[in-house]
Symmetry: C2
Subunit: 360 residues, 2 copies
């Protein structure tokens, strides 16, 4: 297949630190190439890939020195992909709503992964292109009732990037953006009540929150803060933890750090919001808890969970291979059915002709 991948240009691919949209687009691109497909990756010019790279932006617009106006960079980037659309069998969009607005002007079909709805204000675009959008949800929880979907495809990770650790760790871990939504302050509270040390790692997204609710607790012993961590440090941190504390207060579309923890054998204590009930099996790969007391109680039990079961869950359900095959199956389905599917016809969620998210 000739595939054009439209990646986000907020960060390069693969991202150096934060960048889940870029990470998934990178994993997919390299996977498509490895399977013999002819892939052109539209991404920042400093990205690393085995695909043909088409980079109109030198640097990611959220990266240091990437000073170009994001709207200008994104417009040139999107236009470049559509101006070459005729070279591809299919376009794979991982860059939000804007590419949809170009998609009726070319005949190449496009599959759009909705990596979450940044705001309700972008919904009108998804509604307007629902008939040709071939949307992929990244969790059932993130499906919007107004939209029809080609599939739900959970993210997958390169399992070999993560080392299985059989032993139960001695600390709790918070890994992710430092932001009230992610519950960094709740992780601190739980660790203190449970009497275990907490390690915090991740980029600070909310400076005031970090200053007020996190930094005062950091003493390097009971609570440590490491800043953003790279790939290998991430592996070691996850594997050494007794549990990952993922006490989010919003409906997170997916949690990459959660499946990465599973890959090292580490279970997760999470609030049952967004995709968490789809990803975790309560009492097996972690615990779904509704408050601090529940989380503290879960910490006392989590050492008894079988870490091999966690690792196997990651391998079975959240591998890059599974994700790559799921996307290729959607592409083939879209290519196979597009001549038979009248434009403008809308499929409702769960109609018999749809991909089942149980299969994909």
């Amino acid at each position: 297949m000739k595939i054009g991948v439209i990646a986000s240009i907020a960060h390069r691919l693969p991202p150096r630190n934060y960048g889940p949209w870029e990470q998934i687009a990178s994993t997919l691109t390299e996977g498509f190439v490895a399977r013999g497909h002819e892939v052109t990756l539209f991404a920042t010019a400093n990205s690393a890939t085995a695909a043909q790279l088409h980079g109109t932006a030198e640097l990611g617009y959220e990266e240091e020195g990437g000073g170009l106006d994001p709207q200008v960079s994104a417009a040139l980037h999107n236009a470049a992909a559509f101006e070459r659309a005729g070279e591809f069998d299919i376009l794979a969009n991982h860059f939000d709503f804007m590419p949809l607005t170009y998609s009726r002007l070319v005949s190449t079909p496009m599959v759009t992964t909705i990596h979450g709805f940044s705001s309700a204000e972008i919904l009108p675009v998804y509604r307007a292109y629902d008939d040709i959008g071939h949307y992929v949800a990244i969790s059932d929880a993130n499906r919007h009732p107004d939209l029809s979907y080609a599939a739900t495809i959970h993210h997958g990770i390169d399992i070999s990037d993560f080392t299985f650790v059989p032993d139960v760790g001695r600390y709790l871990l918070f890994l992710g953006r430092i932001h009230p939504d992610k519950g960094t302050h709740l992780a601190i509270e739980v660790a203190k009540q449970a009497g275990l040390p907490l390690i915090i790692a991740g980029v600070v997204q909310d400076e005031a929150y970090f200053h007020d609710a996190v930094h005062p607790h950091v003493d390097g012993a009971a609570v440590s803060y490491l800043g953003p961590v790279g790939r290998s440090e991430r592996d070691a941190l996850l594997g050494g933890a007794r549990a990952l504390l993922h006490l989010i207060s919003f409906a997170e579309p997916f949690g990459l750090s959660v499946v990465e923890a599973l890959a090292t054998g580490t279970p997760i204590i999470a609030t049952p919001l967004g995709s968490m009930p789809e990803i975790l099996r309560h009492g097996s790969t972690g615990y779904l808890v509704s408050d601090v007391a529940g989380a503290v109680s879960a910490v006392s039990q989590v050492g008894h969970l079988d870490r091999e079961v966690c690792r196997k869950e990651a391998t079975d359900r959240f591998s890059a291979e599974r994700m790559i095959e799921d996307y290729l199956a959607v592409f083939e389905r879209v290519l196979g059915t597009r001549t038979r599917r009248p434009r403008g016809r809308r499929q409702s969620i769960g109609s018999p002709g749809m991909f089942s998210h149980a299969t994909f």
Copy 2:
């Protein structure tokens, strides 16, 4: 000709108060219709036009209640125009750089009026589409050396909207956005030194500036502030003034209020920046001055200028008719030459094949 006009959706057409991009797109659209062309206007759904109206946005995104995300509204608006491009002989873009990024995906040529460069950051887009952009500059002063242009076309106004006043007025006028760039504070200083009352009208664009540098001087006698004014009040204010004070401190691409003043017979005292030396004839339709002292001196002379000469200048050089004909000539030229002009060939400014801005 079948013409698709892509207007700005910051405001409805014609604008109720501020909105020069929308005003010009509106004047052109109505002029094309009046000359028998088949015109579709892409604008806010609450716009008034004799053309076919295609409105994806209910309200202007800078208008009260127009709460939609501007990027989302603009994307749906632009896409709507390009998805119908096949219905038109030509597209006329009055909505900045974004439509350019769709323009290679359709075969209908597009003429883009550059209403000014909001920032240097948008230049990469204009450079990238220079070969097919058919750019129209709104003044020679606003031409960017990196770009090639189809023409310079000065704005035109409906002269019949403005009443010629033969008598010399007793007050000075500031009409425009209240912003340091527009020199509201300089107008106050000049009026005080000249011993004439000053009337200020326009939207406040910089609240702090208004509060600090304008409002303290407003006493309703020496200095009055009327807020934004509608069409008929504007006519009366301009016609009754001894002179319009247009002491800008930036290279303004064009000054609509300046030619409106001329249409009422009122001369202008302006700084010689941007388009001012192209629009005004020093010592005939106003004075180009370099500082407050020069402006005060000009005020003492301005009553001797012939107001009929000002009116005639507006009629001869800045009428809607002239502007409409200039645009239609560019469209015809683009349509006539497009098959003979190889894509990608770039014409340099002033090359023999170009439209002369003296003609257009």
